[in-house]
Point group: C2
Chain length 518, copies 2
C-alpha cells in the first residue's frame, strides 16, 4: 500500500514542479524521505509534484493523528515541530553572491531572533522563490534590521501619477569612450579598457568589462525591486574584434544611460565608487570594493532604507496596478520581440537583398551605357555618360541601403535589447510585491481567526506598503524612461531615414542633371 499523508495546511504551488494541496487533503507520497524539505507525491486530483514536507503528516496506520488546529493556538501559535522540515533561513536567504553569504545569513539570524512572532505567517518554502531570495519575505516578516544612515535613505514621494522615486537632485551622465586594448603580465593577458567620464566629476576613469560585471552583481544583490539594466552579454571569442568592441561599447553606453537616469541606482555608493575611484589607485579601488561587498543594506535590508509617503497605499489599487503592469510587460515583451525580429530581418534584407537589387540595376545601366558607347555617334556620347553615371548612382544607392541599418535599425535593436533585459527583470519584481501582498492577506486572515496579534499584522502591512511603494515607484520610473527612450529612438530613426531618402534623392537628382545636355 502506498504511503499516504494528510495536508495540514493549504499550500499553493508557486513554481513549476510544485503541486497545490488543500488542508486535510489526503496525498500519496512516493517516498518517506524528503528532498531538502519537500515531499514528492500526488494530490487527490492526481496532480504530481512537490509540496512542503512540513505541511503534511504521514499517515502510518488507520488511527491517523488528526491535527486539530483549534487546539494549538498557543502564544507560539504553531508547534515548532511543524517547521522542523522547513528549509532553514540560511538557505532560504541564500544570496546570489558568495561574498555576502555569511554576512546576510547573519542578518537573517538576527531577523529570526528578533522577529520570532512573525513565524505565525507561513513562509514560502520554495527556497528558489524570488520573494525569498530577494529578501522580500524576510523583510515583510520583520526579520530585517540594520542601522540606516541618513545618506542611505531612499525616498519614495507621491507624484502626479502615484509613488515615484525622489528625483536625483544632482543629475549627471557619463560618457564611455575610446575602448582600447590593454595588456598586463608582460602581454600575457589582454583586455579592453573603456574611458568613463561622468559629468559630475569630469574626471576620466578606466574600467574593464569585468568591473561592469562586478558592479552589476552588487546592484542585483542590493536592490530587490529595482530593475537593474542588464550589461551586454559576455562573449568568449572574438572579444578583440572591432565590431564586437563597438557593439559592446554601444551596449555599455545604453546601460550607463539607464544607470545614471535612475534616481536610486545613480546615487548608490557602489556605482559612485565605480564611476569616481581613480583607476590607478589600486588600494582605493580595493577598499571600495570590500566596502561594497560588506554592505549590510542589501536584499531584505534595502527595504529598511526606503521612506514612503505618509499616507499608506490602498493595497487593492496597488494589486490592480501591478496586475495591469504585468499584462503590459507581457504585451511589451511580445511586441519588442517581434519588432526586434522584424527589424533584424529588415536590416539583413537591406544589407543583402536591397543592396543587391539596386546594384544589379546599376550594373545593368552601366552595361547598357557600354553597349551604347560602341555606336560612336557623337550625339550619343553625353547620353552614354549620363546612363553610366546613373549606373554608378544606383550602385551608390545600393551601398546607402547597406550602410543604413547601422545608423537607424541597430540603435533600435540596442534599445530593444536593453528593454528586454528590463522586461526580464519585472516578473521577479512583481513576484516580490505579490509575495508581500500574500503575507498581508494571510496575516489579516490570521487576525480574523484570532491567531495573530493585530499589531503584528500592522507591521506586515507597513512593510508591504514600503515594498509596494518601491515597486510602484520603479514601475513609474520604467514608464518614464520608456516613453523618453522610445520617443527619442523613434525620432532618431525617422530623422535618419529622412536623411537617407534625401541622400538617395540627391543622388538621383545629380544623375538626372547629367541628361540635361545629353
Amino acid at each position: 500500500m502506498a504511503l499516504r499523508a494528510r495536508a495540514l495546511y493549504d499550500f499553493n504551488s508557486e513554481n513549476p514542479g510544485e503541486v497545490s494541496v488543500r488542508e486535510n487533503e489526503i496525498l500519496t507520497l512516493y517516498s518517506e524521505q524528503d528532498i531538502d524539505g519537500w515531499f514528492e507525491g500526488m494530490n487527490s486530483k492526481g496532480e504530481r509534484g512537490l509540496f512542503p514536507a512540513s505541511y503534511v503528516e504521514i499517515l502510518r496506520n488507520d488511527a491517523s493523528t488528526y491535527n486539530n488546529n483549534s487546539c494549538n493556538t498557543s502564544g507560539e501559535t504553531y508547534p515548532d515541530s511543524r517547521y522542523a522540515n522547513v528549509p532553514s533561513g540560511d538557505s532560504s536567504f541564500k544570496p546570489p553572491n558568495k561574498h555576502s553569504y555569511n554576512h546576510l545569513s547573519t542578518t537573517s539570524h538576527r531577523g529570526n531572533t528578533q522577529g520570532k512572532g512573525s513565524a505565525t505567517v507561513s513562509r514560502n518554502l520554495n527556497r528558489f522563490s524570488t520573494f525569498v531570495k530577494s529578501g522580500g519575505e524576510a523583510f515583510v516578516l520583520g526579520e530585517a534590521s540594520g542601522f540606516v544612515k541618513d545618506g542611505d535613505k531612499i525616498c519614495v514621494v507621491m507624484g502626479q501619477y502615484g509613488p515615484e522615486w525622489q528625483e536625483n537632485p544632482y543629475p549627471f551622465t557619463c560618457a564611455i569612450d575610446d575602448p582600447t586594448k590593454q595588456t598586463k603580465f608582460k602581454g600575457m593577458k589582454s583586455y579592453i579598457s573603456y574611458k568613463l567620464t561622468p559629468t559630475h566629476t569630469q574626471t576620466q576613469v578606466n574600467r574593464r568589462y569585468k568591473h561592469f560585471d562586478w558592479l552589476y552583481a552588487r546592484l542585483v544583490e542590493k536592490f530587490p525591486v529595482i530593475s537593474v539594466p542588464h550589461i551586454p552579454e559576455k562573449q568568449a571569442t572574438g572579444r578583440f574584434e572591432e565590431d564586437f568592441i563597438s557593439k559592446r561599447q554601444k551596449g555599455l553606453m545604453w546601460w550607463m544611460n539607464h544607470m545614471t537616469s535612475h534616481p536610486v541606482l545613480a546615487r548608490c555608493d557602489v556605482f559612485q565608487h565605480f564611476l569616481t575611484c581613480n583607476s590607478t589607485d589600486e588600494k582605493a579601488w580595493k577598499q571600495g570594493k570590500r566596502k561594497a561587498e560588506k554592505d549590510e543594506m542589501v536584499g531584505a535590508n534595502f527595504f529598511l532604507t526606503i521612506s514612503t509617503p505618509a499616507a499608506p497605499l490602498d493595497f487593492q489599487e496597488v494589486e490592480s496596478k501591478i496586475d495591469g503592469f504585468k499584462t503590459f510587460t507581457k504585451r511589451m515583451d511580445d511586441s519588442t520581440l517581434q519588432l526586434n525580429a522584424t527589424v533584424n530581418e529588415f536590416a539583413r534584407k537591406q544589407i543583402s537583398g536591397f543592396k543587391k537589387e539596386y546594384q544589379r540595376v546599376g550594373f545593368s545601366f552601366k552595361i547598357l551605357s557600354q553597349a551604347f558607347e560602341m555606336d560612336q555617334q557623337p550625339y550619343s556620347s553625353r547620353l552614354n555618360q549620363a546612363i553610366s553615371f546613373t549606373g554608378d548612382a544606383y550602385e551608390a544607392i545600393g551601398d546607402y541601403f547597406a550602410e543604413q541599418p547601422n545608423k537607424d535599425l541597430d540603435p533600435i535593436m540596442d534599445l530593444l535589447a536593453l528593454y528586454q533585459g528590463h522586461l526580464a527583470n519585472y516578473p521577479d519584481i512583481i513576484h516580490v510585491q505579490k509575495g508581500a501582498l500574500t503575507k498581508v492577506k494571510e496575516s489579516q486572515k490570521h487576525v480574523e481567526e484570532g491567531k495573530m496579534d493585530p499589531s503584528q499584522a500592522e507591521g506586515i502591512n507597513e512593510r508591504c506598503n514600503i515594498i509596494s511603494c518601491a515597486t510602484l515607484a520603479e514601475i513609474q520610473h520604467f514608464h518614464h524612461i520608456r516613453v523618453r527612450d522610445f520617443k527619442a529612438q523613434m525620432q532618431h530613426h525617422l530623422q535618419q531615414q529622412i536623411t537617407f531618402f534625401q541622400k538617395i534623392t540627391s543622388k538621383l537628382e545629380e544623375a538626372l542633371q547629367k541628361y540635361d545636355n545629353a
Copy 2:
C-alpha cells in the same frame, strides 16, 4: 553504284542543312529527284546536305560531259540550261503574305524577262534567304521595275553623320486612347477598339488590333531595309482583362510613336490610310485595303522609289559601318536583355519583397504602439499615437514601393521590348545590304575575268549604292530615335524615382512631426 554528280560552280552554304561544293568536285546524290531545285547528297569531304541542283550535272556514264566554262562565253554568258533547275522566281520571292503573293510573282516574272543579263552574277539559291525574300537580290540584279510616281519618291540625303532619310516636312503624332470593348454579330463577337487621333487630321478613327496586325504585315512586305516596329504580341486568352488591355494600349502607343517618328513609314500610303480612313466608311476602308495589297512598290520595287545623294558611297566605308553596327546591335541586344531581366526582377522585388519588408516593420510598430496603449499613462498616449502613425507610414511606404514599378520600371520594359523588336529586325536588314555588297564583289570579279560587261557591273554598283544608302539612313534613324527614347526614358525614370523618394521622405517627415508633442 551510287548516283554521282559533278559540281559546275562553287557553292557556299549559307544556311543550316546546306553543304558547300567546289567547282568540279565529285558529289554523291541520294536521289536523282530534286526537292524544289535542291539535291540531297554528300560532297567529297563526306559532308552531307543540300546543294542547288542547277549547280551540278549528273554523271550517268564514264563519258561524263565536262562543261567547259571557257567555251561558253557567248553574249548570253551561260547556257540557259544551267538555270533549268534554279528555283523559280515565284518561289524565291515568295512574299510573307498571301495577298501580295500573286502580285509580287508577277513583278519578279517581269524582272526575269527584263534583267536577263544580270544572271551572270550567281543567285542565292536559298529561297529562304532574307536577301532573296526581301527582294534585295532581285533589285540588285536589275530585275525590279515599275513606274515610280513622284509622290512615292523617298529621298536619302547626305546629313552630318552620313546618309539619312529626308525629314518628314509635315511631322505629326497620333494619340491612342480609350480602348473600349465592342461587340458585333449581336454580341456573338467581342473586340477591343482603340481611338486613334492623329495630330495632322485631328480626326478620330477607331481601329482594332487586327487592323494594326494587317498594317504591320503590309509594312514588313513593303519595306525591305526599314525596321518596322513590332506590334504588341498576340494573346489568345485574357484579351479583355484590364491589365492586358492597358499593357497592349501602352505597347501600341510606343509602336505608334515609332511609326510617326519614322520619315518613311510615317508618310507611306497604307499607314496614312490606316490613320485617316473614316472608321464608319466600310467601302473606303476596303478600297484603301485593296489598293495597299496591290501596291507594286513593295519589296524589290521599293528600292526603285529611293533617290540617293549624288555622290556614291565608298563601299569599304559602308561595309565597315555596317560591321560596326552589327557589333553594336549584338551588344545592345545583350545589354537590353540583361537590363530587362534585371528591371523585371527589381519590379517583382519591389512589389513583393520590399513592400513586405516595409509593411512588416510598419506592422511591428503598430503592435508596439498597441502594447504601449495598455500602460494607460497619460504622458504616453501621444507617443503611442505617433508610433501607431509611424506604423501606418511604413505600411504606406510599402504600398508606394509596390505601386512604383508601374510608373518607372514598366515604361523601361515597354521601351526595351520595342527596341528588342528593332534589334531582331536588323540582322535581316544587314543581310540584305551584305547580299548586295557580295553581288558587287562578284560582279567586279567577273568584270576582271572578262565574264561581265562593265556597264552591267556598274548597274549592280548603283543599285547596291541605293540599298546601302537606305540601310545607312535607317541605321542613322535608329540611332537618333534610340538616343531620343533612352534619354527621355531615363529622365522619366529618374524623375519618377525622385518623386517616389520625396513622397517617402514626406511621409516620414509627417510621422516625425507626430513626436513633437509626444
